[in-house]
Amino acid sequence: MKTIITAEGNTLQAKFDLRFGRASWFCLLDEINGKTEFIENDFKESQSGAGTRVAQKIADFGAEKVISGDFGPKAKDLLDALNIQMVILQDDTLTVDDIIQKLK
């Protein structure tokens, strides 16, 4: 199963990004073999609609779960309809690796 974790950078030591649509990077984690891949967010600077565009992109990656700090109302609705599980963690001291360890 694939999971997306929003991140401020493109390494496992990077901080977890609390923003969803305007997160800097996305860490695509394969929970079965533990492999990770980092994808830059092209919609980071967009004026509007970042959340929903990111949600569509996440669906394209085949992710079934997204971990972030918050989801806008539109992104929330869309992810829900796309059958993608949303998880909110409000702790911005975590790194991407901390979250991956929690999931194990």
């Binding site: 609609g49 929903t52 565009r53 949600a55 569509q56 394209d60 079934e64 779960k65 971990i67 109302p73 539109k74 929330k76 609705d77 869309l78 992810l79 829900d80 309809a81 796309l82 059958n83 993608i84 599980q85 949303m86 998880v87 909110i88 963690l89 409000q90 929690k102 999931l103």
Partner: protein, 139 residues
């Protein structure tokens, strides 16, 4: 400042990202952006054969608003066909229903989509610490 757009209720987003014409003589062109509510309008009016009043009630909008969305949708479909452009589905001003759960053990909040195990926290995997967040308190 223009009046904000009332959100349109849709049952589910389209199950595709783009409808692309095949056999066109030239490469792929700029797509026409087809909003989710336009897809929903065409589906209700022309696939489920509802009249505009029934469809408008389902989407939580007035009949004239429905008619306007439907009109736009038809124009976009026509433009895509005549100009041989793909139709790309884009989120417009739609919303769908959902609910949130809370894990008392690891303090994660999350949703449970239809195909996921019920009553299990997606982070710490505990099964006895889950509670449904009352949507009234969330808003």
């Amino acid at each position: 400042m223009p009046r904000p757009v009332n959100p349109r209720k849709i049952v589910a987003p389209p199950r595709f990202r783009e409808l692309v014409p095949s056999g066109a003589p030239h490469g792929k062109r700029e797509p026409v952006e087809f909003l989710y509510e336009e897809y929903e309008a065409v589906k209700l009016a022309d696939y489920e054969n509802l009249n505009h009043k029934e469809a408008a009630d389902l989407m939580g909008i007035s009949r004239p608003t429905f008619a306007r969305i439907y009109e736009n949708a038809r124009r976009k479909i026509a433009r895509a066909m005549v100009e041989i452009r793909p139709l790309a589905t884009v989120y417009g001003n739609a919303y769908m229903d959902n609910s949130w759960y809370y894990c008392k053990k690891c303090h994660a909040r999350f949703t449970i989509p239809g195909d996921k195990p019920k009553n299990q926290c997606p982070v710490c995997k505990s099964t006895d610490q889950i509670e449904l967040i009352n949507p009234e308190n969330e808003k």
